[in-house]
Every structure is written in C-alpha cells, then in structure tokens.
C-alpha cells in the first residue's frame, strides 16, 4: 500500500522541522488562563480519584542567571502513574485510569510554582535497564527560544543510584535534578528549583 493510500491524502513534502520560537511574555490568557476566567484545559493539579500512586506536591521557583525569580515562565510535566504506566502508551505500559500524567502551570509573581500529582513508579529504560521514578519537565518563557527539558528525581529513592539517565549526568551536577522531600501536615512536599543559568544551574537535557 502506498503512503498516500495509507493516509488517505497525498503526503506533504516538508523541507524540515518547523523551528521553535519563544512562547513570549503574553501566553497566559490561552495556555494558563486561570486569571482570565476563560476555560482551562490543563491544570497543575493532575491527581484523579482513581490515580495509582502516593499524592505529592512539587514546589519551587524558576530562577534566572542573576538569581532573580522569573515571573513569566510556564512549566509542563509528563509522567507515569504510581505503577510506572504512561497514559496512552502501548498496552503493556499503558494505564486505564483517568490519570493523564500531564500538567501545566504558570509561575506566580514571585516565580513560584506548585504541582499536585502522584509519585511516579519506575519505567523501562534503554537496553533492558529500569529508570528511577522521575518526571519529565518542559520549561517555557520569554527569553527561551526553545523549550528547556529537565527531569525531577526524588530524594531518598534507592533506584537513583542505578538510573541510566542520571548516570549520564556529571556527578557534581546530579543534585540539581533531585527534589528534596519534606512533610507539611499530611502532605508530602518535594522542592525542585529550576535555575536556568549560573551557580548550581539545573541540568538540562537534549534528546
């Protein structure tokens, strides 16, 4: 079967991937519109009643190269549920709950963000390895011409020691990827600050 028949249309003939441009400073009224009173389709609280996993909060600041908080950033998270299943993934890795594993948040006027989610389980890594629990994070902001990609790992997780992705990160920089755990009332809170530049700069990935 030809490609054209398979997809029912003539395939295009693209001459390359569409380049990225900055999200700019004025995205909130469509991407994170909670202050505009318009309909929001993404949330920073992604726990569903049927979600598998321990509920957690993830909090932090987004900080620039001068150590100043960034007040116009947007963060996106993508993660597996507590059993290590990704929504929409192939059956052996997919979940059948309402938990979608995707969240989006702006930051407030102090540069602060807070997600509510469940702690992810372990998921397969390359070459038969297993990855430690982690959350993929995308960072967008004025001044970021393309998304920055980092990962949140969790303090006190024994699997961190054998994680195949952490192993690729220079030892002295790994701590920037590990969220610090504490309890606040009944909540388990992980702190994860994102430093775009400078001392203790967060490790960012290219994939």
């Amino acid at each position: 079967m030809t490609e054209a028949r398979r997809y029912g249309v003539q395939p295009g003939n693209p001459d390359g991937v569409t380049p990225s441009q900055t999200v700019g400073p004025f995205f909130a009224y469509v991407l994170t519109p909670h202050e505009y009173g318009t309909r929001e389709i993404f949330s920073k609280d992604i726990v569903t009643p049927d979600a598998v996993g321990h509920p957690i909060r993830i909090e932090g600041y987004v900080i620039d190269g001068d150590g100043e908080p960034i007040i116009d950033a947007m963060l996106e998270i993508w993660q597996a549920d507590g059993d290590g299943r990704y929504a929409g993934a192939a059956p052996q890795h997919g979940a059948n709950t309402a938990f979608k594993g995707f969240g989006r948040s702006d930051v407030d006027s102090n540069g602060f963000f807070a997600f509510r989610t469940v702690k992810p389980g372990q998921v397969p890594g390359p070459d038969g390895t297993t990855q430690a629990p982690h959350i993929n994070v995308g960072v967008f902001a004025r001044g970021l011409l393309k998304r920055l990609f980092t990962r949140i790992y969790f303090q006190g997780e024994p699997a961190n020691a054998t994680d195949p992705i952490l192993a690729l990160v220079p030892k002295e920089r790994r701590h920037t990827l590990i969220a610090a755990r504490r309890s606040r009332g009944d909540d388990t809170v992980y702190t994860f600050n994102i430093r775009l530049q400078g001392e203790d700069e967060t490790v960012f990935f290219e994939a």
């Binding site: 001459d15 390359g16 991937v17 318009t38 597996a80 995308g138 001044g143 690729l168």
Partner: protein, 237 residues
C-alpha cells in the same frame, strides 16, 4: 507495523538558547552544555489531547464576542505533518495573538494601543484525520517592545502544538509574507539558517482567500519524527 524515530539532527534549524541580540536570552540561557540522553519510554510517549478539548467556535476568533473585531479578516489553514510528510491527526493546536492595533489582552502588555472589546486573540483547534486545521481571525498588528531602541515585532501569531510524543512538542510563531520588520527582529533572526527561518512565514493563497470575506494564508507545521525502516509484520498491508 513501523515505529517513529526522532533524529536530533532534524532540529538543526532551531535557534540557540543564547542569542545575545534578543536581550532576554542573556540571563535565561543555560551556560553549561546540555546532557544528551537516549529516547526512553518517557520521551517516546506523550499526552493525548484531542477533539474533547475544543468547543464550537474555538477556531473562530472573530466570533467570540457580541460584535466583530476591527481589522483585516484572515483565514489560516494547513496541515500538521511529520518529517516524512505524514499527517499528524487529532492533535491540539493552541494559538494566541495581538489585536489589529498590536495590543494583547495580557495584563502585563503596556503598549498604548487600544484594546478591542470584541477580540480576545485566543484560539484552539484540533487537526482532523488528514492532519488539517483551519481557523479564522484578524491579522495581528506589529507592536513595539523594549529589546533595543525602536524595536518592533513583525506581525505574528503564536502557536503551541503537541504531536504524538514528549519530543514532538512545539511552540513557535507564524509570520506574514513580505513584512518589512523581518531584518530588524532578533527573535525571527535567532534562526541562523535562512531556509529554516522562512519556514515560519505563511504563504498568501488566493485559493484559500474567501471572496468578499477574508484573506487566506496557508501554513504547514512539520513536527519531529521519521518513520523507521518498517518492521517485518505479516499483518501490515
């Protein structure tokens, strides 16, 4: 049966993080090298947001208020494709823009140009089974910003797309053909390669133009992703 791969080389058209002419990149770009990682399940999967996320009228920015917005009415349409030209169906596109006077409704936009009570500038559309999308709006105005003396952004519409995986996520801007501000805009020119840069310029299309109604523009998005060599599968036709 086949699988999608994401060569890193395909991103060669992207701008760098640090582009000093765009002042905001100076303190927001990483100073240490990025760590290259293999594509694991965490990167090869991605959120699925389709037709359930959009409502009637989300793709017509001229009909979201009691009256019609001022400005030059436009229709923008095209397809979302992968690198092999295969359509990306049922994927969410979010878009936002300034009004015809070059003013955003965002609370922090201080440009002393009028807001239009009949224009918000926010839209959503989901591609159909052939990867097509279409929306109606008004042409956004150019607007000044404080990057450098007498700095003006060329007219543009912001877009946010998902595609099938974490790696296909794209946020970009679409420009209009023949804009005299192109040579002066450090955001547009952050893309070093002229051919790649020109991929962000919509094409005016008389066939898309609706008589007595709206000017038509064609714009295709190409997301990361190639088809790997098809796997042997007796059930594949």
């Amino acid at each position: 049966m086949s699988r999608t791969i994401y060569p890193r080389e395909s991103l060669s058209g992207d701008p760098p993080y640090l582009h000093a002419d765009y002042a905001s990149t100076r303190k927001r770009s990483p100073s240490k090298p990025l760590v290259i990682i293999p594509h694991t399940l965490s990167e090869l999967t991605g959120p699925v947001y389709g037709h359930e996320t959009v409502q009637e009228g989300d793709n017509d920015l001229t009909r979201q208020h009691l009256g019609e917005p001022l400005g030059e009415r436009i229709v923008v349409t095209g397809r979302v494709l992968d690198e092999d030209g295969r359509p990306v169906p049922n994927t969410l596109i979010e878009l936002w823009q300034a009004n015809a006077a070059g003013r955003y409704i965002h609370v922090r936009d201080q440009h002393p140009a009028p807001l239009d009570p009949n224009f918000t500038g926010a839209g959503r559309v989901v591609t159909d089974s052939e990867g097509r999308y279409r929306f109606t709006s008004i042409k956004p105005g150019a607007y000044p910003w404080r990057n450098h003396p007498n700095a003006w952004r060329p007219a543009h519409i912001h877009f946010s797309l998902f595609g099938p995986s974490f790696l296909t996520r794209l946020v970009t801007q679409m420009y209009f053909p023949g804009d005299p501000l192109f040579p002066f805009d450090p955001i547009f020119n952050s893309i070093a390669d002229e051919r790649a840069r020109n991929r962000l310029i919509a094409r005016f299309d008389i066939e898309t133009t609706e008589p007595e109604w709206a000017l038509g523009y064609q714009f295709d998005f190409v997301l990361r992703g190639r088809n790997a060599t098809p796997l042997e599968d007796p059930h594949d036709d």
